[in-house]
């Protein structure tokens, strides 16, 4: 089965590099998600693998064959687009059968294959319909079916769920997970939605400005972000960042927040550092809790109930922090509370380039 290998892949559009030095090996059967904000080069990367864009530098290998000069149809890839991209004037059956027809597969074989796949994804009753008569979810199902029928070496997904409404998106996401578990085909999936990325991916590639910011499992990119960009991009609401300068004893923020020595990080000789703490990792303590080096007095500026959770906007010595707490019982705006920034939940980044400082063992 397939293994995709991207070596020093790059793409320039009229002098500006959309993707640069993209190096990655994708294991057989892996579900890889390319995640990043719009314009980060994730779609361009996918389109280069598909052959819809030529690559300016580097090589694309699929199943130990160099593919970057091959036509899209010869690469063994099938693609699912955000806007479905079905042939509007052809029936569902003909949409799904098109690739096989073009490969001159015998008619009865096509018939059997299309019907099997339609059965699998629940489209058997719609084979004679035109795409315009189907709902958005059904259309995307047809697009996925069209990809499956080809039995490709690699599935390519370009934001396939972005056009669907929230409820359907969750359902289709689960369907995609089951489908992947069942077919085990190597998949590359582009999205800007971190929930999709976290739930679907074996590994996530987070891209920023055309380069890879970090590659890792969902756990890794959440727990150990490689830099401030990844730390701020993964997690919702985003991580709190506090700029700190070295003080006589410990560290001091631009406001008046004072912190003890950050000995749990290997900071080298840095005299400034960005400290990061996720909203869900700041503890709100009962007032009678004894203070330690990491507890602070805070005032609730605003409390917002989201349902299961609530968000508290805190002011801590002139610094603003966002905290996520349980939604059943939480302090109101104006209340004074105590919080704790647990050192094992902290992240520290180099201010100049955003790189995470390593944690001391």
């Amino acid at each position: 089965m397939a293994q995709v290998s991207l070596r020093n892949l790059g793409k320039s559009f009229g002098g500006t590099m959309a993707v640069e030095a993209f190096d990655l090996d994708i294991a057989d059967g892996e579900f890889l998600v390319l995640l990043g904000p719009s314009g980060c080069g994730k779609s361009t990367t996918l389109r280069m693998v598909a052959g819809l864009e030529s690559n300016s530098t580097g090589e694309i290998w699929i199943k130990d064959k160099r593919m970057d000069h091959e036509e899209p149809k010869n690469r063994g890839v099938a693609m699912v687009f955000q806007n479905y991209a079905l042939y509007p004037h052809k029936t569902v059956f003909d949409n799904m059968a098109m690739a096989l027809k073009l490969q001159k597969v015998p008619k009865d074989e096509i018939e059997k294959k299309v019907r099997d796949v339609a059965e699998m994804i629940g489209l058997s009753d719609f084979l004679e319909r035109k795409p315009a008569t189907l709902s958005g979810g059904q259309r995307q199902r047809v697009a996925i079916g069209r990809a499956i029928v080809r039995t490709p070496d690699v599935f390519l997904f370009d934001e396939p769920l972005s056009n669907l409404d929230a409820k359907l998106r969750v359902k289709m996401r689960m369907d995609l997970q089951q489908l992947h578990a069942r077919l085990g085909v190597t998949s590359i999936y582009v999205t800007h939605d971190q929930v999709e990325a976290m739930t679907l991916a074996d590994r996530i590639v987070i891209m920023e400005g055309g380069v890879i910011a970090q590659v890792g499992t969902p756990r890794e990119v959440y727990d150990e972000p490689a830099n401030a960009f990844v730390a701020g991009f993964i997690g919702s609401p985003a991580m709190n960042f506090i700029k700190l300068n070295r003080a006589e004893k410990g560290w001091r923020s631009e406001g008046a927040l004072e912190l003890p020595e950050l000995n749990h990080f290997d900071l080298g000789s840095a005299s400034t550092v960005t400290l990061g703490v996720r909203p869900e990792h700041i503890e709100v303590l009962p007032p009678e809790t004894p203070a330690d080096a990491w507890t602070y007095d805070a005032e609730v500026m605003l409390a917002e109930l989201l349902g299961a959770d609530a968000l508290l906007n805190l002011s801590v010595k002139g610094e603003e922090l966002l905290v996520r707490v349980n939604g059943t019982e939480y302090p109101d705006g104006g209340e004074k509370i105590k919080i704790r920034l647990a050192p094992e939940r902290q992240h520290a980044f180099d201010i100049s380039n955003g790189t995470a400082f390593p944690r001391r063992a």
């Binding site: 819809l52 899209p72 149809k73 099938a78 687009f81 955000q82 991209a85 080809r150």
Partner: protein
């Protein structure tokens, strides 16, 4: 938001309709009068007596007028078919192939249509004489195609640009070649654009005068506008025959336009809004 048209809007619309329709209405009324009615003073507004004798006369006594209409039809259909084929392919290439100088090419194509056709006539006439293209349908079809191709390229290219490119990309991954994508995906999806463009080209060709006048010198090969305009004899000006022939000549256009009016509007405004 729903806006109701005010009185001023209605008046403007009515005035424009009257201005553009009056000549046609007058033409039709004239074709239904007898000779005395046409020359009577004060002018007759409503034909009195109302008569179909002009039509009967044309169909029975002057077969050459019908011949002109048939000639126009042959040239118009041929020109439309050729223009849509060439214009469709050129337009698709300009819209989708990332050609390096596509903007420049488009401007060059458009600049061709800026030449007044009359300025091209002497050289065109000489070339057609040399090629033996005078008085041939093919000759005038080619001349009209050259004249109107820029409009077709421009209109079709803007229509193709409105199609979602992912459909073509999906076809590419499915294994279709560029030409196959055009013929089996893009062309069927663009038929409103083709209908609108085709009709406009047909009307252009139908009404075109200078080239048709110069390149078709034999009476039997003349197109409707040329034939009708040359119909007046040396001493008399037969208004009743001319108006009747003109009505007959515009009927095919009116019928086609009425049938396809939806596509014309849709095709002309494609890409101007979501």
């Amino acid at each position: 938001m729903e806006r109701r048209a005010g009185k001023g809007t209605y008046i403007t619309v009515v005035i424009s309709v009257v201005i553009s329709f009056f000549p046609i209405v007058w033409l039709i009324l004239t074709s239904l009068k007898n000779t005395a009615g046409i020359y009577s003073w004060p002018p007759q507004y409503w034909p009195d007596p109302f008569t179909l004798e002009n039509y009967i006369y044309i169909f029975t006594e002057t077969p050459e007028l019908l011949r002109y209409v048939v000639n126009s039809f042959i040239v118009g259909v041929g020109c439309t078919a050729l223009t849509l084929t060439a214009g469709g392919m050129a337009g698709y290439a300009l819209a989708r192939l990332r050609l390096r100088f596509s903007t420049g090419l488009m401007l060059m194509i458009l600049s061709v249509s800026m030449f007044p056709p009359i300025a091209l006539l002497p050289s065109l006439f000489q070339s057609f004489v040399n090629l033996g293209f005078l008085n041939s349908y093919l000759g005038l079809i080619v001349a009209h195609t050259g004249l109107f191709l820029p409009y077709a390229v421009f209109m079709l290219a803007s229509y193709f640009a409105t199609l979602p490119v992912e459909i073509e990309e999906a076809a590419q991954i499915d294994g279709m070649g560029f030409l196959q994508i055009f013929t089996s995906i893009v062309a069927p999806l663009s038929w409103p654009g083709f209908v609108a463009t085709g009709l406009i080209i047909f009307i252009f060709s139908w009404n075109e005068f200078p080239l048709a006048l110069v390149l078709m010198t034999q009476d039997a090969m003349r197109t409707a506008p040329v034939g009708i305009s040359l119909y007046p004899g040396e001493f008399a000006f037969p208004w009743e025959t001319i108006s009747t022939a003109t009505v007959i000549a515009i009927i095919p256009i009116l019928v086609i336009t009425a049938i396809f009016q939806k596509q014309i509007l849709g095709g002309l405004t494609a890409g101007t809004g979501k």
